[in-house]
Amino acid sequence: MIRKLVQTAMRSTSHEVGFAENGKEGLALIERLRPDVVFTDVAMPEMDGFEMADAIRATPELAHIPIVFMTASVQREQIEECFRHGAAGHLAKPFSMTELRARVAQFSKS
């Protein structure tokens, strides 16, 4: 549902969007696409968002890519955990499409 929402929201922009089912697939996709920014959930099967972020940070050619976590939690500890795993930003569910696009714009410019 979230994937469909993001896809729809990004349709009107000039960005190319790739989607993956879980962390493992996400990592492979990132290596292939080398995107400007990565948006990821935390809770995912196979490899969760934190593990994927760690793997990206551990790969020198991918380490510069900013990662934005989308979490349902607004608790400080979990947000802090996101930043400990190298998050460039955090989007709390439910988020508005405007907010999502603004984040994309922010990171693709830099």
């Binding site: 549902m1 979230i2 469909k4 929402l5 729809t8 929201a9 009107s12 935390v42 809770a43 995912m44 099967p45 969760d48 349902a72 939690s73 607004v74 608790q75 709390a92 569910k93 439910p94 988020f95 508005s96 499409m97 405007t98």
Partner: protein, 694 residues
């Protein structure tokens, strides 16, 4: 014998010697004969000289015979008069001497009495008083009379020998007489009626004598016996026992002085006893105060028990101290135990506490001097009372809080029989009193602590709930918010509009389902959920539920293995469907793609047994129970990505219980889980439903 006594004997012997001399009649006769002869011859001599001087010569030849016969007659008459005078003198002297002796005796007796009263005037301990008394009455008795002063000791609740003297002292010394150990005749007459008992001659009072000897063998071959009560201010403080070696050594007259002295001594003994009692009371109160202070200083029942019971056990010098708690006699179990070194422990929680139980049943303190001879515990030799076999003596008191039994305090002796004193009892009861205050305060505190802990748990559960719910609610909300935002602000085709509206609707349903689940669980947990009972076929419900799940879980093959003999049963169709749906959804959620799920039913006696088996990640053994509790979801790396409110299994359990059934899980981590549900096949009884609902 003391020097004081020795000097008394000397003075007595001297007095006796002095008394004997003037009483001799021969002395008086000899003295008057000598006196008569001396006077007669002196008169004759003077008379002859006077006649010669005056020149009168009496013709001897003529009148000599006559004259000499007159002289002889005169001499005899004179001698007779002298002898009469001697007898009179002797009588007078004897009477005088007798009077002097009586006076001296009286003086001596009075002296002894005054001496004794002066000696015991100050504060003295019982032993000192006993020594003074023994020394003082010694003078009034035959030297070989044995005496024993026994005093009623309130602390010991028995007579205690405080002074003995005489040849049989050894047999009477160092002996405590409980009232019943005294000869019955002494008990009745001296102790109960406070009358002196004097058996002057064992031959004359053979019957009474035999009874005394039977119960007091120490007097054995003696000839006379006396027991005199010591009474002060209406209180019997003790008795004086006298044993004479000859008949009539002790006759009522001779025991007068000891009786009088006894009255003086009784007052002193009374005071000494009062002081002793006051000291014992003060000591006891100090201990109880100490215990009470400690109990008030702490709100931890364990600490209170440890401090107080240990201290009391040491003061009482017992082998073991037990605190049992329980609201009923049969519930009493050991919650705290203290043992002296080398004494085996019984074990916390043990219920073999017959003495404490008896105290609880009777509602008063129980004393056991020797359990081996105690008929109340004659049936205590069974193997279930193994732990009690080492106990010889015991004392137990019930602890009641607000009129309700709360427990019992029990002390025991494993090494010896023990006569529990009134003081021991007072101490045990006082501490029991303090403990009940402490225990009730600690209980109240404990309840409050539990209430606070429960509130904290609820608070934590609430914040967990808020966190889980907000997490779970936010995901569908993201869809609702995002799609509605796009419908509002973007140019969309009608088909797109419809599609997004459908997405919004789906998320709204999801939210609604979650809210309903929470409310349902709340209702079931508080017993407000009513089942809509009807005749249902479990196999049909299972087939329908699987039919609903299959399209949503295309990656999970679901196999059915249904027993056609299940037949109809009474139940709530929707709720039973929810049970199967929740179990199936869990099986799908927690299994990898391709993991087969098997649902089977079978008949087991009067129950239908439903089994849902998956090949998922499994559940750790320690969580097999807690997963059925609210928010009891196993949180781990393997499950964090799986959405769920943690309400599915608690709802399953509530519904199954409402139907009078049971539910449990078996699992091997990494291999899969099996959920079992049994439901009664007949019409579910209302009773079991009500019980489950409450």
């Amino acid at each position: 014998m003391s020097t004081r006594q020795a000097s008394q004997y000397d003075s007595r012997r001297r007095q006796e010697r002095m008394r004997k001399i003037p009483r001799s009649l021969r002395f008086y006769v000899a003295a008057s004969t000598l006196y008569a002869a001396t006077v007669f011859f002196a008169v004759q001599f003077i008379y002859t000289i006077e006649l010669a001087q005056s020149g009168i010569v009496i013709a001897r030849r003529d009148s000599g015979d006559i004259l000499s016969s007159i002289q002889i007659v005169s001499f005899i008459v004179w001698l007779g008069i002298s002898l009469i005078a001697a007898v009179i003198m002797h009588r007078l002297a004897t009477a005088l001497a007798g009077a002097r002796t009586a006076e001296a005796t009286k003086e001596q007796e009075l002296g002894s009495i005054f001496g004794l009263s002066a000696a015991i005037a100050g504060p003295h301990d019982l032993e000192q008083i006993g020594a003074y008394f023994a020394a003082a009455i010694r003078g009034a008795l035959a030297p070989d009379t044995t005496l024993a002063l026994i005093v009623y000791d309130d602390v010991l609740e028995a007579f205690r020998t405080i002074a003995t003297d005489g040849p049989r002292a050894g047999a009477l010394r160092e002996k405590n007489y409980s009232s019943i150990a005294l000869p019955s005749i002494v008990r009745t007459r001296v102790i109960d009626h406070r009358q002196p008992l004097v058996l002057a001659d064992n031959a004359a009072n053979a019957d009474a004598w035999r009874r005394v000897v039977q119960e007091l063998p120490a007097i054995g071959t003696a000839r006379s016996f006396a027991a005199l009560p010591l009474v002060s201010r209406e209180r019997l403080v003790g008795a004086l026992l006298l044993v004479g070696e000859r008949a009539d050594d002790l006759v009522p007259d001779k025991v007068q002085v000891p009786m009088i002295m006894g009255q003086y001594v009784a007052g002193s003994i009374h005071s000494a006893l009062a002081v002793k009692e006051a000291e014992a009371r003060a000591e006891r109160e100090a201990l109880v105060n100490r215990i009470a202070q400690r109990a008030r200083a702490s709100l931890d029942p364990e600490e209170i028990l440890r401090g107080t019971v240990e201290e009391l056990a040491k003061v009482l010098d017992v082998s073991r101290a037990l605190v049992c708690t329980g609201a009923a006699e049969e519930d009493l179990a050991i919650t705290y135990e203290w043992e002296a070194e080398g004494v085996p422990k019984i074990g916390l929680g043990a219920k073999q506490v017959p003495i404490a139980r008896l105290a609880a049943r009777l509602g008063r303190t129980i004393l056991v001097t020797d359990i081996r001879k105690d008929s109340r515990f004659s049936d205590l030799r069974g193997p279930e009372d193994q732990v009690q076999q080492d106990v010889i003596a015991a004392a137990a008191t019930p602890i009641r809080v607000g009129g309700q039994l709360a427990g019992a305090l029990s002390f025991s002796q494993v090494d010896r029989a023990r006569d529990w004193s009134a003081d021991d009892v007072r101490l045990i009861e006082s501490v029991g009193q303090e403990l009940r205050v402490a225990i009730s305060a600690a209980e109240a505190f404990g309840q409050q602590r539990m209430a606070v802990a429960e509130l904290e748990r609820l608070n934590r559960a609430k914040s967990d709930f808020v966190s889980i719910v907000s997490h779970e609610f936010r995901t569908p909300l993201t869809g609702i918010q995002g799609f509605s935002e796009m419908m509002k602000s973007e140019d969309l085709t009608l088909d797109e509009m419809r599609e997004y509206a459908g997405d919004i609707n789906k998320d709204a349903h999801r939210l609604n389902r979650m809210i309903t689940e929470m409310l349902d669980l709340d209702k079931m947990e508080s017993g407000r959920m009513q089942l809509h009972r009807e005749a249902v076929d479990l196999n049909t419900i299972v087939t329908e539920a699987v039919g609903h799940v299959r399209p949503n879980a295309p990656a999970h093959p679901v196999a059915l293995n249904l027993d056609p003999h299940i037949g109809e049963m009474t139940g709530d169709r929707d709720k039973l469907t929810q049970v199967i749906a929740n179990l199936l959804n869990n099986a799908v959620k927690y299994s990898p793609k391709g993991g087969e799920i098997v649902v089977s039913t079978r008949v087991e006696g009067s129950a239908a047994h439903l089994v849902v088996r998956d090949h998922g990640i499994g559940i750790p053994e320690e969580a097999l129970e807690s997963i059925f509790e609210r928010y009891g979801r196993v949180e781990s790396r393997a499950t964090r990505h799986i959405q769920g409110t943690g309400l599915g299994l608690p709802i399953v359990r509530q519904i199954v219980h409402l139907h009078g059934g049971t539910v449990w899980a078996e699992s091997t981590v990494g291999e899969g889980s099996v959920f079992h549900v049994t439901l009664p096949r007949g019409a579910a009884s209302r009773g079991s439903v009500a019980a489950a609902a409450s």
